[in-house]
């Protein structure tokens, strides 16, 4: 009886081991961490992306860690402490495009690869590549959509992000280009900077509407918070005459599209950035190297840019855009290894 029990127990253990093996075994021993510049709702999908990448690619560990404040010093301290504890690959939204490079240089010297996700580091950098939204293209497409919603004429106001953010410069240039292409039919009334924080953004958009709402035909908001505060202000004003194109898919902005106060918003792909970034880091930490002749996009910040994709959300696709972004993510990930890496 005891022998039968022992054999049965051994067989059950073996069966369980075999059955559970795919769940517990890891294809790689890599410990990867995705680190944004600080707390910001834009990066929330990175948490799910990390969990999905760990499961789908059998990576030992993929975590999402957020610096307690949006300060370069806080981010580098977190990164260094994680490296000291054994993390061997990082996906990073640089707290500062230039300031992050010193830390990344030290990581490279210690054989710890890093990639920039969501925003780029400024060349020369030891980041392997940058996967982010092509902010120039996004702002350009968004402004074109706004001009179309305005009927091709009127005055535009640009609610821009931090003035010291290099992406703000690109967005300003893109908006100016789209406006210039109308040959004077549309004018740029004002570019209002530093609106990507709740208090400042709220005050500035309300001051604008209080002083010159009759002159404004449309508003393009190119920051997450800028979009939210502008959508809220237009709804509070109850004015559907002023058209607006925002960025990202905050619920307030999406509700604005449904209610008719917002014409559309430019979707970014933060989930895809985190998911593909973790996949790429696992391969690079495993010995793959970058292909020099890959179709890298050259931007003012880096010569190794990959567009993570963008699309316009309007009333036509407000319910289905997430499926479109998932399909885009799968498409980029499916061809990533062959397109950008050389793996022995």
């Amino acid at each position: 009886m005891r022998t039968r029990f022992s054999r049965g127990f051994a067989a059950a253990t073996l069966a369980c081991s075999v059955a559970l093996f795919p769940l517990v075994a890891s294809a790689s021993d890599n410990k990867i961490v995705l680190v944004p510049g600080g707390p910001h709702p834009y990066f929330a999908p990175w948490e799910q992306a990390a969990a999905d990448a760990q499961k789908d690619f059998s990576i030992a560990s993929v975590e999402y860690k957020v610096p307690s404040e949006w300060k370069l010093e806080m981010q580098t301290e977190l990164l260094e402490s994680l490296a000291a504890q054994g993390t061997n690959a990082f996906g990073i939204f640089p707290g500062d495009a230039v300031g992050i490079n010193s830390t990344i240089g030290e990581f490279k010297a210690n054989n710890i690869p890093a990639v920039a996700l969501g925003g780029c580091a400024q060349d020369p950098t030891d980041m392997n590549f940058c996967m982010a939204t092509d902010v120039y293209q996004s702002a350009y497409i968004g402004t074109k959509a706004l001009i179309e919603a305005m009927g091709g004429k009127g005055a535009v106001v640009h609610m821009a992000g931090l003035l010291i953010d290099p992406n703000t410069v690109l967005r300003v240039q893109a908006v100016e280009k789209a406006v210039a292409e109308t040959n004077g039919a549309v004018t740029l009334l004002q570019t209002i900077g530093d609106t990507d924080s709740q208090e400042a953004g709220d005050q500035k958009v309300n001051a604008l509407l209080a002083s010159s709402k009759d002159k404004v035909g449309g508003i393009i908001a190119t920051g997450y918070v800028s979009s939210v505060v502008t959508a809220t202000a237009l709804k509070n004003l109850g004015d559907k005459r002023i058209k607006m194109i925002g960025i990202d898919d905050d619920k307030i902005v999406l509700d604005g599209i449904k209610d008719g106060f917002v014409s559309g918003t430019m979707a970014q792909n933060p989930y895809g950035q985190g998911y593909i970034g973790a996949y790429a880091l696992d391969l690079i930490a495993g010995g793959c190297t970058l292909k020099a002749d890959a179709p890298w996009v050259k931007t003012p910040q880096t010569a190794h840019f990959i567009d993570s994709g963008t699309l316009l959300i309007s009333s036509a696709n407000a319910e289905t855009y997430k499926d479109d972004l998932k399909a885009l993510t799968k498409k980029i990930q499916g061809s990533f290894k062959d397109t950008y890496l050389t793996c022995s």
């Binding site: 307690s68 000291a84 054994g86 010193s102 010291i164």
Partner: protein, 323 residues
């Protein structure tokens, strides 16, 4: 026995004991805490925090405060970057000119305070905004990343296991110790801080002393800015600024410098900065949830300060009994 240990020695000794306990606890809970990588990064950060603390400490000595330490810092960061990248000046010349700029901005603070009689809190609050605004106008918020690589290499270098930046901070500390302990000017600063009227009646040129400490504070803020620029390998318009406000007060106050003036501690400021960095690094290495970090940092700091105050009170009581 514990009470006996607590009662012995100075404030610095108490801080040293607390620091030692924390190092033992953190290194046994998280092996990565003592890794060369972590010690190097903590050493470099704490070196800058120490000099930022000194920049505030010298003004606290007179009972004033300098809320523009960070603003002078960011002006110095961008000026150093401009001298090196745009003008191509040799590194020593650029450093000297940057220290000079820090001194000039500090002099503006001191001059405005003594001439107007307005509290240093108000004056330096205004000049902080003025200096930062001027920096943004001139730099247009564009970082400079074409600095000579020797500057970054200096920040990364170390003597033995001690980062070179930490040695620079200790060197500045020794100079300040000599100033306050062994010079007439140092004693005049402390006298002006303890009781300005009595100092004035004793022949101490209080106004001139106040201007001097602000110049010194500006030079020290510029020194910290140069160290930060070397550490980052670039001149960043987002560096220093408001980020320096809290550390500038924490290090000297934890170290025993009186906010009311007349009492400073150079060694205490070094230990104070070390304590804050140790707690922050230890909690990070222990991977305490990032949103809990600030809470735990506050609890640890409050605990350390209360323990130190308790130890000081016990020591005073023991001395009174002995007398």
């Amino acid at each position: 026995m514990a009470a006996g240990l607590l009662m012995r020695g100075s404030t610095q000794f108490g801080l040293f004991v607390i620091l030692f306990i924390m190092w033992v606890v953190f290194s046994s809970l998280a092996p990565g805490f003592l890794s060369r990588f972590n010690l190097n990064s903590v050493g470099r950060s704490v070196a800058i925090d120490i000099v930022v603390g000194f920049a505030q400490m010298v003004v606290l000595a007179t009972g004033g405060m300098n809320l523009s330490v960070g603003a002078i810092g960011v002006c110095s960061v961008m000026t150093l970057g401009y001298f090196l990248q745009m003008w191509g000046l040799p590194i020593p010349v650029a450093i000297l000119l940057t220290l000079g700029l820090g001194g000039v901005l500090g002099w503006l603070n001191g001059f405005a305070i003594t001439r107007t009689g307005v509290n240093s809190f108000v004056v330096t609050l205004a000049t902080a905004s003025l200096f930062t605004g001027a920096m943004l106008i001139f730099s247009k918020g564009v970082p400079l990343n074409g600095l000579p690589p020797e500057l970054g290499a200096f920040a990364k270098s170390s003597v033995g296991r001690v980062p070179t930046l930490a040695i620079v901070a200790i060197g500045i500390g020794i100079a300040l110790y000599v100033l306050f302990k062994h010079s007439v000017l140092g004693r005049q600063i402390l006298a002006a801080g303890a009781n300005p009227r009595a100092a004035e009646m004793s022949g101490v040129p209080v106004d001139r002393v106040i201007v001097f400490v602000h110049v010194l504070s500006g030079v020290l803020a510029a020194a910290a800015a140069i160290m930060l620029t070397a550490k980052n390998g670039a001149a960043l318009p987002g560096a220093a600024g408001d980020d320096w406000l809290l550390p500038s007060f924490l290090a000297p106050v934890i170290g025993g410098t009186s906010l009311a003036g007349g009492l400073i501690s150079v060694v205490g400021t070094i230990f104070g900065a070390l304590l804050v960095s140790t707690i922050r690094s230890g909690l990070l290495v222990l991977q305490i949830g990032n949103f809990w970090l600030q809470l735990f940092l506050g609890i640890f700091l409050l605990g350390a300060i209360l323990l130190e105050r308790y130890r000081s009170a016990l020591a005073v009581r023991a001395q009174t009994r002995a007398a």
